[in-house]
């Protein structure tokens, strides 16, 4: 298998570009301002570049080629029509600081999608300045802080976060100097209402929650939870990572949430790109709209414009977020349309429960309840191998493994989310592989412990990588 760094196929004198001819005169860059160090960059032909990256791509696995049962990631199909429209030069070649009259199309996309998302979620307005879910969380928490500061309520220093929450929740809270109160999950896998009541006070700015939660269970007490938090003057923040379970059926606003973020790269089909760019729009209730980050989009006398609201939390992005990602989500929503938007959740939930039923004879299901769009197992019933071993063996069967070791609630967590785009045949094949692996754990456990066997590299030494990090090509040159 191809195994070269771009630097390793370099040969002095090769180039991979051609530039237009120029007759602009040359000017001198003063010596004292010039770079002195050698620049170690590849020198390759265009074909070298094409072959190099094409061969690298063959070592990857995309959702276009196979099932990606990653819990909490909503790896659904990334429609190609969205890619086509995003490449339109009228969107891709626009400078962000052009006069508003020359960017009415771009602003229309933002304003219109904000309206559609408000419809679907019940919120009053959205900002698209959030680059990702975690960024959206940060924005939401800044809004929460600002809201209380504006009320001159300085004692609100705490935020309630379930211990089962995604790591970004407490990390984001710490970035705005909130003290985190972690609350436990009860034996039904849900927020412990009594514990919530006991920690709630007028020092709590609000609560961060995802619903369904990270176990894939719907917080059936949500209306009571919101009531408790609101009674004490706190705000409710919705982590929209799991919206695929409720899209078009339940609105976060109806559940009592005041601020929400969405993950366009999850629920709204924009591609993950190997780790980004995503988008984390933030939606708020009417009384929080002024706090949204700057600039905000508004329509004045029939024209869209960007304006700087003096009440805003400030700016959290150099410009206006990941516009081309937002554009793709806009295209997706138009493709789904009114007729289909409420079906997404139904098929997603059906798929997850189907997998639950078929695998619970082999994988531990500590809570056997009405799962929503994802199901969490706690490793093999036989305990003959760890979840890590199962995941690595699944690679040999040609699948990307589910999410492992999250949520932290169980020691051998295995979280599976089969989105609505997966057919019964895909699920059956996956189930068959998972059952085979469970059986292999009994009869030939070494197969799991030394897996994967058929991938381009096998288990990697992460310990040495962390002890003696080699983080760039230059680090390898003294070997």
């Amino acid at each position: 298998m191809y195994n070269k760094l771009i630097f390793e196929i370099s040969k002095p004198g090769r180039i991979g570009y051609s530039l237009p001819k120029t007759e602009v005169p040359s000017f001198d860059l003063p010596n004292e301002l010039s770079r002195e160090e050698e620049l170690l960059m590849p020198e390759v032909s265009e074909l070298d570049v094409i072959r190099h990256f094409t061969n690298l791509s063959k070592k990857n696995y995309g959702v276009d080629q196979g099932f990606y049962p990653l819990g909490s990631c909503t790896m659904k199909y990334n429609p190609k029509i969205n890619e086509e429209v995003a490449r339109n030069a009228n969107f891709a070649s626009i400078h962000p600081l052009q006069p508003p009259t020359t960017v009415q199309g771009a602003l229309e996309v933002y304003a219109t999608l904000s309206d559609y998302l408000s419809e679907l979620t019940g919120m009053s307005a959205f900002t698209f300045n959030g680059f990702a879910g975690a960024h959206g969380e940060l924005i939401g928490l800044m809004i929460m802080k600002e809201y209380h500061m504006k009320r001159n309520d300085t004692k609100r220093t705490k935020i309630i976060v379930p211990l089962s929450a995604h790591g970004t929740n407490p990390a984001s809270s710490a970035l705005v100097d909130f003290e985190i109160i972690g609350i436990k999950t009860n034996e039904k896998g849900l927020v412990d209402l009594d514990e919530l009541k006991s920690v709630m006070s007028d020092e709590v700015a609000g609560m961060m929650l995802t619903n369904p939660n990270t176990l894939g269970l719907f917080e059936t007490d949500i209306l009571e939870i919101s009531k408790v938090v609101h009674e004490y003057g706190g705000l409710m923040y919705y982590d929209g990572a799991n919206l695929n379970a409720l899209l078009g059926l339940v609105r976060p606003q109806d559940m009592g949430f005041d601020i929400i973020h969405l993950n366009l790269h999850k629920t709204f089909s924009t591609p993950h790109g190997g780790g980004g760019p995503g988008a984390g729009p933030v939606g708020v209730n009417a009384d929080l709209v002024d706090f949204l980050p700057n600039p905000q989009v508004r329509k004045v006398n029939g024209q869209f414009e960007l304006f700087y609201n003096p009440q805003s939390i400030g700016s959290v992005s150099g410009f206006y977020g990941n516009f081309l990602v937002v554009l793709r989500a806009f295209a997706y929503l138009l493709t789904l349309g009114k007729e289909n938007v409420a079906q997404v959740a139904k098929y997603a939930v059906l798929n997850a429960n189907y997998i639950k039923e078929k695998l619970k004879g082999h994988y531990k299901l500590p809570i056997d309840d009405n799962f929503m769009h994802e199901v969490v197992f706690d490793g093999l019933i036989s305990e003959k191998a760890t979840t890590l071993d199962v995941a690595k063996r699944l690679l040999d069967y040609g699948y990307h493994p589910p999410t492992i070791y999250f949520p932290l609630l169980f020691h051998q967590s295995l979280m599976i989310e089969p989105t609505e785009v997966e057919s019964k045949e895909t699920l059956d094949a996956f189930i068959e592989a998972m059952i085979k692996i469970a059986e292999e754990a009994e009869t030939d456990v070494e197969l799991l412990k030394t897996a994967p066997h058929h991938t381009v590299v096998r288990r990697l030494d992460e310990v040495t990588a962390a002890r003696n990090p080699i983080l760039k090509y230059r680090d390898t040159l003294n070997d």
Binding site: L5, L40, F53
Partner: protein, 439 residues
């Protein structure tokens, strides 16, 4: 039926039987009925592909493509066909974060190559896999400094891009970090004001190079004084200039951050862009974001993994240095491809082309007699000049001719830019249009 939903009636029937429910709605029966009342969403009907193309073309036509002489944080760069051909490959586009390294070697390797190239350009020992954008990367750079020194204040030069400053201020406000502004003096950082404000209470200083006005500042004295006090020297640098300009390392910086959109990322109305963050070896375990490292597998084969993850949110939770979970991976790939095509020679050629274009524009504009110089500092691809007539109106006139003019600053000053993409004809045309402006 719908093209993204594969379930047939037969499938649904079979699956419901397995699950033990009578209907799809039954799957939601444990939810409070008040939440499930049917909604009539005011959103459009489902669009077919042609309907979608039509609609988006109509919306797109309300945008106008202009020949850009505006920089101010977003720059017109060359687009190579290999970039989009490779980034649209499904293995790159539709793959997930490389948490399972055995089937993500493609992603991990290009991240490693990106880190290598950013390290080369900046002179830093460590670069991460990218940040959301230059502005947020700069805010994170500041927190690296304040956390590491356990101080709550930082000096920031007023010659920093105001949009980046806004983001830095917002982040700092909610984190309780004090931003101490260093005044500018004739478009460069005031050395005297810096000396007055340099105390033991600050974690270091943040400067921009070239600065917001396009000027290549002499940071030697600031660097020496910062070093004396063992504080952090953070430089927000345009990486595309570093192929030819004195590096942040040579200036004495130990944290380097900024916007790598200039390395092959389209204008895109502001996003997605490509933040980057790099640092010296001493700060390796304090840098936020993803990092790929080289290692071996059980058979001794070379491979790549995400490493130093213990700093990240999914492990440290509230003690993480940052909450960042994703990066701008696909854009990092695009810039690696761009930098590979250009290579050692091309990066220098492109940088000098921008330098030459900007200086040619500057000289040509001054020659018209309609513009005045306002300083004589060296600049790279942007510069400030004073216009003798109405600058706002000039821009209106330029726009009517499909040209995007400079950023209007106080006193009829303009911040103009000519990147490597501008041709002599376009520059001459710009000068001609200026000549035709009457107001």
């Amino acid at each position: 039926m719908f093209k993204y939903f594969p379930h047939t009636e037969a499938d649904i029937k079979e699956m419901l039987a397995v699950v033990g429910k009578k209907s799809l709605d039954d799957l939601f029966s444990h939810i409070d009925p008040s939440l499930l009342e049917p909604k009539d969403f005011n959103i459009p009907s489902s669009h077919s592909e042609d309907e979608l193309r039509d609609k988006l073309n109509r919306i797109g036509n309300k945008n106008k493509q202009l020949t850009s002489f505006l920089g101010a944080g977003s720059y017109d760069v060359f687009c190579f066909s290999a970039c989009s051909a490779l980034t649209s490959r499904q293995e790159f586009l539709t793959s997930y974060t490389p948490y399972q390294p055995e089937i993500s070697q493609g992603t991990l390797q290009y991240i490693f190559e990106f880190q290598s190239m950013i390290s080369e350009l900046t002179g830093m020992d460590v670069a991460n896999a990218s940040m959301y954008d230059g502005a947020t990367a700069t805010a994170e750079a500041i927190f690296m400094a304040t956390s590491n020194k356990r101080k709550n204040a930082i000096l920031v030069s007023s010659t920093l891009n105001p949009r980046v400053l806004e983001v830095v201020k917002t982040y700092a406000k909610y984190r309780g970090v004090e931003i101490v502004m260093i005044e500018s003096d004739n478009y460069v950082t005031s050395i005297n004001d810096f000396k007055n404000k340099l105390t033991d209470e600050v974690a270091g200083i943040l400067v921009q190079q070239p600065n917001f006005y396009g000027i290549i500042e002499d940071y030697q004295e600031i660097s020496d004084l910062i070093k004396e006090k063992n504080l952090h020297f953070i430089m927000n640098a345009d990486p595309s200039t570093l192929a030819v300009l004195k590096t942040p390392k040579a200036w004495g910086a130990d944290i380097v951050c900024g916007e790598a959109q200039t390395l092959g990322i389209p204008l895109a109305f502001g996003g997605p862009y490509l933040g980057y963050l790099a640092c010296s070896k001493a700060l390796m375990r304090k840098i936020p974001g993803r990092i790929a490292g080289m290692t071996k597998d059980v058979d001794g084969k070379r491979g790549f993994v995400l490493t130093l993850q213990a700093r990240e949110q999914h492990i440290r939770r509230e003690k993480a240095t940052s909450n960042i979970c994703s990066n701008q991976s696909l854009n990092a790939l695009q810039s690696v491809i761009y930098m590979s095509l250009l290579g050692k020679q091309g990066l220098k050629e492109v940088a000098m082309r921008a330098y030459n274009n900007a200086h040619y524009l500057y000289d040509s504009l001054l020659k018209t007699g309609l513009f005045k110089a306002v300083h004589n500092h060296p600049f790279f691809k942007e510069f400030v000049v004073e216009y003798t007539k109405d600058a706002k109106d000039l821009n209106r006139h330029l726009q009517e001719n499909n040209v995007l003019g400079g950023l209007v600053l106080e006193g009829n000053h303009l911040l103009l830019c000519a990147t490597e993409k501008r041709t002599k004809e376009e520059i001459d045309q710009f000068v001609k249009l200026v000549g035709e402006h009457n107001v």
